[in-house]
Amino acid sequence: MNQWQNFSKGFLKENAVFVLFLGLCPTLGVTTSAVNGLGMGLATTFVLTMSNLVVSMVKNVVPDKVRIPAFIVIIATFVTVVELVMKGFLPDLYKALGLFIPLIVVNCIVLGRAEAFASKNTFLSSVIDGLGMGLGFALALTILGGVRELFGNGSLFGYKFISGDGMLLFILPPGAFLALGYLIMLMHKLKKRIY
């Protein structure tokens, strides 16, 4: 697989949310608006790329039996860095994403890629894999957030198209499940067409 394929697979072919069904908790939890979805996606991309980077650097040094705890510490460090930086410099986003920021550490995508990819591939491939999967995740979250915001609030990225409320169901928990279910169906159809 060349590096372009490595990068782009995260967007549709092996999209974390729509195809692999990983990282679903934040997907449903923060997508009440497109901005929140994008913010969470980018934060996760940062953690994913950095942890893939470090893991691929130390993969020959860390003994096999302690690799999971070691990966966890590495990932948790980057997550805490994101937490602190957001708290100090992006307080509104920090408040909006809330509990799900520390939960990036148990996002199955991050540990999954570290274990399945970064520990077995070169530095460059791992970084590109991290970027691709992360940005694909961000794309999925932004789309879901956008759909929910559009139907639920009549706005997109904060820009309101209608006055008053939309179909409130979409920004409440049931709406998250419903919107995601239909989106997954649509994405599968799209994937069938392209690949």
Binding site: N60, V61, P63, I74, V81, G88, P91, D165
Partner: protein
């Protein structure tokens, strides 16, 4: 994976090193972000105070003090212009919201008249209880310029003077509860504040 063998010594050493480097990195980032995080908190409060009580020249945050009230406490932010006390912003709360805690910042002139109210935090339902926010409906405007001594802080359903939000009586009631708590606290502390005002 392992080009390094999983001997006890290697495992211990690796884990120690990883943790050591991780702690070092975190400690550094923590120090770097400590001040911004502190400022965010202060700025948020100052914005809320400015919102309900514009026109002060002191540092209300520096002169703030807490008073116990019910399960939690109220925070009083005295607002002064040129050294003279012109009013108080009171940070209040209620646990009776539809989804729990609501916190408000209420501005009082020294005679007890409400200047305006800003919602600091809440978890009320979007489209319903969320309308307590000033930019979501006119609910808050009915409180401005009113004095709780004559304007009964209860919804009309409970024989008060407040027009509740349609279909959000619980949120409206909770809001009134918080404002009442602020007013009661204000009345209790008024004398102390006036004596300190110079």
């Amino acid at each position: 994976m392992a080009k390094t063998e999983s001997t006890f010594k290697n495992m211990l050493l690796t884990l120690f090193l990883v943790t050591f480097i991780a702690s070092g990195t975190l400690g550094f980032v923590y120090e770097f972000t400590k001040e911004p995080i502190r400022m965010v908190e202060i700025n948020k409060k100052n914005e809320a105070i400015k919102d309900v009580f514009p026109g002060f020249t002191n540092e209300p945050y520096q002169e703030s003090f807490k008073v116990a009230a019910g399960k939690d406490s109220l925070t009083f932010y005295p607002a002064k212009a040129d050294g003279k006390l012109i009013g108080v912003a009171v940070e209040t709360y209620t646990n009776k919201g539809f989804s729990g805690l609501i916190t408000l910042m209420v501005g009082f002139k020294m005679d007890g008249t409400i200047t305006s109210i800003k919602v600091l935090s809440h978890q009320e339902t979007p489209g319903l209880g969320q309308k307590i926010e000033r930019d979501k409906s006119n609910f808050e405007t009915q409180f401005e310029g009113k004095n709780p001594a004559t304007f009964k802080l209860m919804v009309k359903k409970d024989q008060g003077n407040v027009d509740a939000i349609t279909a959000s009586t619980i949120s409206s009631r909770a809001y009134c509860d918080a404002v009442q708590r602020a007013y009661d606290g204000f009345e209790a502390e008024k004398e102390k504040l006036e004596n300190e005002k110079n």
